[in-house]
Symmetry: C2
Subunit: 208 residues, 2 copies
Amino acid sequence: MARTAYHHGDLHQQAHDQALAVLRLEGDGAISLRAIAKQIGVSAPALYRHYADRESLLAELAISGFAALRQQLLSVDQHAPRAALIGIGLAYVAFAQSEPNLYRLMFGGRVLPKGAHPRLDQAGLDAFNVLQDTIARGQRAGYLKPAPLALMTATAWSLVHGLSQLTIDGHLPNAGAEPQLAEGITSLLLEGAIAPTHNHIDNNEDTP
Amino acid sequence: MARTAYHHGDLHQQAHDQALAVLRLEGDGAISLRAIAKQIGVSAPALYRHYADRESLLAELAISGFAALRQQLLSVDQHAPRAALIGIGLAYVAFAQSEPNLYRLMFGGRVLPKGAHPRLDQAGLDAFNVLQDTIARGQRAGYLKPAPLALMTATAWSLVHGLSQLTIDGHLPNAGAEPQLAEGITSLLLEGAIAPTHNHIDNNEDTP
DNA sequence: GCTCCAAGTTAACGGTGTTAACATTGGCAT
DNA sequence: ATGCCAATGTTAACACCGTTAACTTGGAGC
């Protein structure tokens, strides 16, 4: 269908773009269907031909966000296990810091309840799997402990997600731009927090 | 001022309680000043005698949430360093899981921007300091590496916060009630993720 | 007893998401 | 070529929302 004065022809994409722009500047709470429609030059109910409701529009933004995150994680060099792990962590946090409002939307359980948008859940899983694959590679290379994969990925994901969220929201005193923090944290996880003197104690699991 | 038909006398507290009830059941997005006023049996603008705006009411809920979290963290036994650290982590995640909507409000940077409510920021710091003190104790006992305190607390907080958020939102496959996950994760951080064979490599910092 | 002020009231403004009912029009089958 | 149909717009309206202005009530202190 061509674009005429009546039939817009590109409403879906333009609404998406406009919503993303508002999201970046003011956060998801500021996204208003009526305002977007007015900006595009269309009546508000017209949006309902392309999005079931406001939440569906937000879900689509989050989906494209997960795709972008996945791409950023996929671009990390996977040659050396340790460098790959640290690189993934840095890339993850860098994404969150470069798109704070989008990241908050993607992981804001309150606005996009899990299970309500299957494509969104899948997009999240796709991104998550990049992280998981990196860890599995590290294990196959013998670099990481042979602990259960689910446990290790949960740990790594928790760490980078928590760090992202806390720095984004300004809760960490050292929130600034320094990637030194992210790198230090990742190293700490890899090498452990226990002092070497104690490190031979309590290793009663997963060590051959 | 006594409570008559006109002068309510307990409006502030009742509004707080009612808002907390709605928050627990349906999340902060469902908190409506008009609905709360109607429930209490008062006109909507009456609330503005006690709260500057909706956000101030939410901030007060979050403040009491941080106080509750702090109390829960303070109740952890601090006798043995390792047990204290794991206990703090478990208590933190347990709080988030028992009050998911409150936890989301406390850390939802979008609805309560940092800096807008000083008392809220202070409440968050008070809770954070319990975690920091536990780590400092672990260092003084020689159990933890003498890495910079800020780095270690940022790591620990990121880990427990990320785990809380991910389990709350159902992103972790193993999200269920098992504290086994939280304990495994905490142990992994303490002992490190690198296989023992590699553990003597790359330790070029913080080891005396 | 009078006054003042804290704490309520109603009315109203501008905004929101969403639905119902109607209008336009491009593409496809005849 | 024509006529229908489904997709895609429109306007009007409903039920909310947060918030402010202007007014009223009534208890506490001089």
